[in-house]
Symmetry: none
Subunit: 242 residues, 4 copies
DNA sequence: AATGAATGAGCGTTCATTCAT
DNA sequence: GATGAATGAACGCTCATTCAT
């Protein structure tokens, strides 16, 4: 019985390993040759498996992209959650900075994941899976925003922050989101930023974020606290990136 | 001689008109059916010219995209320049706001152009023209930045703004650029932002920009001046969008 | 020994049940999705058995079709035999009408079976099994004809019918066969016969058959006897279709 | 100008010749390997043209079948019309026999055309073009029937024929249609009819037709006139098959 | 005996590109 | 200079069949 169980387990394990391998390959290819360059033929050729086998795992090219996007989403969520519950945060703004650090870490550690998100966003992959797309994208965006919004609301509750008239919590989050998404997109897709004077875009991004929140008067202001240090601390303590 | 010249001129004019028509068609198709849907066959079918003729103008499908991106760049530059030299600006920060308004107007007025920029940025179109790409992208980014940088430098010169230690003019510009590019990308590619709480993303973007510059202590602060009004004024006076 | 026998019997019974189940499924699928839609994968997916197991029963996709055709043949033969030995027949022509009723009943009761016959007839399934085909098809046609021929010969023997010069028993049978096969094919494959004026094709078929036999001077003529009533009677009494 | 015209004419002629060649090939392949065996790859391989070229003529595999079916329909209609207007017909039943001869000639002269009709009828080709199918099939059947119905109505008008109670003109036509379609199908798809006793199926079909019409009391009866001779005469005089 | 992972040839179709006219 | 027929590699996908377990 044990043998049988083991057998099943091994087969299943092999299956999952194969699936992971397909996704890994797809992720890399997506990064290297883009959505257009990603083809089932190429994936099959690059693996030691045949086309048919790939199709036994994913019945669509789109399903692969979908799976990839799901992975990316889950990874990011996981990291955001870890950051949002960081025990070292003394203020609500610390917590916000921690999430910023998580976003930074995410792109650095999993650049392919970020790539996938951009492709999913820009491509017309979804024409077929249109209905699912709307749901998936929205869930993705919604859950990510919920974490950030939670921290903002906490700040409001604690009196660290007041919103200007007519602005909602989500508007603030949208600002941070745009800034981060835009920055990483430019960093990822622009070669030679240095040559146009941007030596350290990550530092510039941190600065911009801090100043934006200063503008909102989220206390403590960046003039009162070194959030740069907070970023580094989070990356060290939460993500072991020292 | 005059006749000959005229003839050449007419031919040349016809040639340029044809070229413009091809690009116009390609632009529309790109927006409607995406990069994947854009095909030389389809372009030819939709025109009164044949495929061969189109190839006489653009020896590549990629060349067409390149030309489209060029157009977009030129259009944006033109608008940025108009904004940067707006006579109604009383302060350096007014001028900065004017450029923000130009960016807003650009996306609203020429959504296809913005589309093209995103495609160019995300696609692996460039494999063949990789060398040209680096140059082109850099020129694109460089010229746009130069205008914005100019305004920042003016602010520094006039004492309206001091940069924090370690930050360059380009870092500030990068922040604005990221924020804007990110915001418009999200707006363009997310369906149903409203459902996740972002009712007026453009307003949120303006706010974020203003607060970011407030963070930099660029005077007058947004608490001292209604830049929202400046945005509207520029769109009215410079771009006739009232 | 008895135990062993029983075991073998049970196994064999299970095997046959499985085989029957495969065929049942295939028959239904053939009708629903056509020959093109019939696939080993789909059959396996729809059953609780795997592809490999199915291949243990039928080493070919074609073999399944062959088996299906065999079933159809057997079913029809069975019904023809029942009709040919109908105790209610008073004349040889009654007996002939009874077979006509059987053919009618067959198509009505087992439309899938008729479907299979047509597919087998039209498809080039047989390339591989070509040798078997010739045998099988001939056996099929031969045995069916034998029954009908038997009735014709009986009529000749009893003096109800004389054949015109140069015509054989088989020629008469061929006429009936053609008429029936053609009619059911048209009925099955034509949508909206009614719109082209054929409101009741079954009645038209009965009429045509009767008149053809009248032409042969097979007594009693349809003017002397209501064969329509005979048809209904057979369907009621022999096939319980009332 | 003449040169230009000629050029266009030649190109167009070449195009049509190519198209005809594709259809000819497809027709033969359809007959030899059936609908399933017909593939764009095979057509392309068998011609000296590439797959792309084939697709420039027919944008679908189905379009080819459709074109083939159209050809068959037109050919048959043409032959039916020629038969229906045969000047040698002395009676309405002569005219009917002439159409029978046309049907015979059609299958003999263009067996592939008849093949196409059967395939179109039996296959699930039409799943995609389902809407068009209904129309096309109906037009096909309708136009063919109209000619035959016309002759029947003429017979009624001239008093050569009375219909039994409850039977329509179309019912009679349906009988003839079924008989012919069925007979040719069996002849085409059954190997070795002779071995099961049907030495001359064409003769048997003629006989069956004649007797069916005799049953309807369509005068002159086949006992009063040698319609076999009429058949041969039509094939000779109208179709030059002597 | 039963399984289902793996195969790989084949399918219909698209499309950038070339080149004879 | 303009044309569009011709190409052929590539695509996403299917499926009958095999075979190690």
């Amino acid at each position: 019985m044990a043998t049988l169980d083991q057998k099943i387990t091994r087969k299943e394990r092999e299956r999952q390993e194969r699936e992971e391998k397909i996704l890994e390959l797809a992720r890399t290819m997506l990064r290297e040759v883009g959505y257009l360059g990603l083809s089932m033929d190429r994936i099959a050729a690059e693996m030691e498996y045949s086309k048919g086998t790939i199709y036994q795992h994913f019945c669509n090219k789109e399903e692969i992209i979908l799976a990839l996007a799901n992975e990316a989403l889950e990874k990011r969520l996981e990291m955001f959650e870890a950051a949002a519950t960081w025990s070292g945060a003394e203020t609500s703004r610390d917590r916000m900075a921690a999430i910023g650090a998580a976003a930074e870490e995410f792109v650095e550690r999993y650049p392919q994941h970020f790539s996938v998100e951009q492709i999913v966003r820009s491509s017309s992959i979804w024409e077929k899976t249109s209905e699912e797309r709307r749901q998936f994208m929205q869930v993705c965006e919604g859950r990510c925003m919920a974490i950030v919004s939670g921290v903002v609301r906490e700040a409001l509750a604690q009196g660290d922050l007041e919103l200007p008239a007519g602005r909602s919590v989500e508007d603030l989050v949208f600002g941070l989101w745009s800034l981060n998404f835009g920055a990483y997109t430019i960093i990822t897709s622009s070669e030679a930023l240095e040559e146009i004077g941007i030596a350290d875009p990550i530092a510039a991004l941190r600065q911009s974020q801090n100043f934006m929140l200063d503008g909102y008067r989220w206390r403590p202001l960046s003039s009162e606290h070194d959030f740069n240090e907070t970023f580094d601390q989070v990356k060290r303590e939460v993500f072991g990136n020292g």
